[in-house]
């Protein structure tokens, strides 16, 4: 009896490994490749070895020292990426939180319509909207301005964030609002003193989502911005491939650096990410 049970457990374990190992390999091999390139000297990068004979940090020195034509604005572009991502995260958070609060807690008229429209936006892939967005930004004279990318990313991130936050808000007990109203709270006080503190996990999750979305964005950055000093690093990385003899090892080193902040952020907030994004997914 006991053996049968443990056999079953082993079998489940084996099945999980059977799925897990390929998934890990699938995701990690490119990352390992990236890392391998980044620590290889230029002429040894494509040698096909699992570990370079003379691993070096010289590539990173080149990157940090901006010692290559493609890397002339590395720090500026990293700063652009950071600024765009943080601004997108904060603005999206503001838009989505206030919208969710108004719809879920204040029950404003038309709230349902807003939610339905937010849902409809999912049917349209972001890439479809790239050209119309370009036209719109041109109309407002925002091309070649980092705000155009920020506004575009806020537009893309907001519907999903509103949806997630609305679902999470709906789970807060209604009596809390009523108690606060009787205690004398205005809607704004209710928002700041009761609603926001209780929503922190969801807010962190949603803010991080918007931030990473903007950090990783390529297409819109490529379209809306063209001055080298305005570009986010993602677009600048793409420009490495403009020439025939791309400095692969520098591209990979820069890419590796670029991938670290999202990993760090995700690791720091993973507790919130899981609970925050699933909160409201199912009614408990």
């Amino acid at each position: 009896m006991k053996k049968g049970w443990s056999l079953r457990k082993v079998s489940i374990e084996a099945q999980l490994l059977l799925v897990g190992i390929p998934v890990v390999l699938w995701t990690m091999i490119p990352v390992y490749h990236l890392f391998l390139f980044a620590i290889s000297p230029r002429d040894k990068a494509t040698s096909g070895k699992l570990w370079p004979e003379n691993p070096t940090l010289q590539n990173f020195e080149f990157v940090f020292g901006q010692k290559h034509f493609y890397l002339n604005h590395f720090w500026q572009q990293l700063g652009n990426s950071l600024m765009i991502a943080v601004a997108t995260g904060l603005i999206t958070l503001f838009v989505a939180t206030t919208a969710a609060f108004a719809i879920s807690r204040l029950k404003v008229r038309g709230g349902r319509t807003v939610m339905n429209m937010a849902l409809v936006t999912y049917f349209i892939p972001a890439a479809f909207l790239a050209v119309p967005m370009y036209k719109t930004m041109a109309n407002y004279g925002l091309l070649n301005n980092r705000w155009s990318l920020i506004l575009a990313m806020v537009t893309i991130a907001s519907p999903y964030c509103i949806w997630v936050l609305k679902q999470a808000s709906d789970k807060l007990p209604w009596e809390l609002d009523e108690a606060a109203r009787i205690d004398g709270a205005s809607p704004l006080q209710l928002f700041w003193l009761v609603y926001v503190p209780l929503m922190v996990p969801s807010l962190v999750a949603v803010g991080t989502y918007a931030l990473l979305l903007a950090w990783n964005e390529y297409l819109y950055g490529f379209l809306l911005l063209s001055k080298e000093t305005d570009l986010p690093l993602a677009v600048a990385l793409g420009n490495f491939l403009a020439a025939d003899d791309s400095p692969w090892e520098l591209l990979m080193a820069t890419g590796f650096i670029y991938a670290l902040p999202p990993a760090a952020i995700y690791y720091a907030f993973k507790r919130y990410m899981v609970s925050g994004l699933t909160a409201g997914a199912v009614k408990s």
Partner: protein
């Protein structure tokens, strides 16, 4: 402290009318319990008084001032919710002081008021804890503390004890009652539990389907229920009711039900031959020792120590008898029931109204 007055209050949700013109007054310092089965409109009525529901028709006034259009916060009321509704991210101290903070009271006043309320409710050692670290009874006391700190004109309680276990409920019942006797603040208390209503209220308002069935002190309702609904709602176990025909012949009156005659007092508003509902409380029947009375077959004997509850059948109609002390009666035994005429209740069969 204040008086409260409901005048012809109506409430509609969409097209459905759930409160049909309710009027009654609560005097200063009174403890009034609204009681009734779920869906009777008692909570809605309370929430209209609290300003959490719009008033469709009629007027509610506090101290003679109509409050229909005032915000909750301007009505000078405090409410205790069934789910406690404590702010989970604030300590007990901050929960209790929240309303004062919103009113920008000085720290000195807030500390004093919170301290006073805490000592009344024995919450001093818990002031720096969070709601999640408290037991159900403690949370309920904090919710009451939050209400006391406000020093409102009227306390509102919405089924505050329903989430507590039976033993704690009895203890909190006494605590709320004691609190009221100490503070003498006008209180409106909603419950579906008639025992809570009976034990705590100065006056009870029995509601059913959006109307008031009867208003009175607990013992008035118990001794002279105005209609069949109140008769069966108030009292536990509930009143035995059977259908029968009223007989009034030569100054003697009784109710004929199947093969038995049930004694009744004098009924001025009734006539001979009228179909009636006859009610008698389980505690108002005795087992006859003389072998006279109404024959009944014992089905179940439930000893509870001080009392014994008997489920019996009279002409296939189940009835409950509660007797003090103990009995030798066994299931399937035949017993005889004695009922005194003064303790009987007779209601019109169609209108359900009391007939004396």
């Amino acid at each position: 402290m204040a008086s409260v007055s409901f005048s012809n209050i109506e409430k509609k949700f969409g097209k459905v009318k759930i409160i049909h013109g309710i009027s009654f007054d609560i005097s200063d310092g009174e403890f009034v319990v609204l009681v009734g089965p779920s869906g009777c409109g008692k909570s809605t009525l309370l929430r209209m008084l609290a300003g959490l529901e719009e008033i469709t028709g009629g007027e509610i006034s506090i101290d003679g001032k109509v409050i229909n259009d005032l915000d909750s916060k301007d009505r000078d009321i405090a409410m205790v919710f069934q789910s406690y509704a404590l702010y989970p991210h604030m300590t007990v101290r901050d929960n209790m002081g929240f309303s004062l903070k919103l009113r920008k009271a000085s720290a000195e006043i807030t500390n004093k008021r919170v301290g006073d309320a805490a000592s009344i409710l024995n919450l001093d050692p818990l002031l720096d804890r969070y709601p999640r670290e408290l037991s159900g009874g403690q949370r309920q006391r904090v919710a009451m503390g939050r209400a006391i700190v406000r020093d409102p004109k009227v306390f509102l309680f919405d089924e505050p004890l329903s989430n507590l276990d039976a033993k704690l409920r009895v203890a909190m019942r006494a605590e709320i009652k004691a609190l009221h006797q100490r503070l003498k603040t006008t209180t409106v208390y909603v419950t579906h539990d008639q025992i809570e209503a009976m034990t705590m209220a100065d006056r009870i308002v029995v509601m059913h389907d959006g109307i008031i069935e009867q208003i009175g002190t607990p013992l008035e309702l118990f001794d002279r229920p105005g209609n069949l609904f109140v008769a069966q709602f108030i009292g536990s176990p509930s009143m035995n009711v059977l259908k029968g025909t009223l007989r009034q012949v030569e100054g003697r009156a009784w109710v004929e039900s199947q093969n038995h005659q049930w004694p009744v007092g004098t009924l001025v508003r009734a006539r001979d031959g009228q179909t009636v509902a006859y009610g008698v409380r389980p505690t108002d029947m005795r087992l006859s020792s003389t072998g006279q009375g109404i024959a009944a077959k014992v089905i179940v004997v439930e000893p509870t120590g001080a009392e014994t509850e008997l489920l019996v059948e009279v002409d296939q109609t189940p009835m409950v008898v509660v007797m003090h002390g103990r009995t030798d009666a066994q299931p399937d035994d035949l017993v005889y029931l004695e009922v005194s005429a003064e303790k009987s209740h007779v209601f019109d069969e169609t209108s359900g109204l009391r007939l004396d």
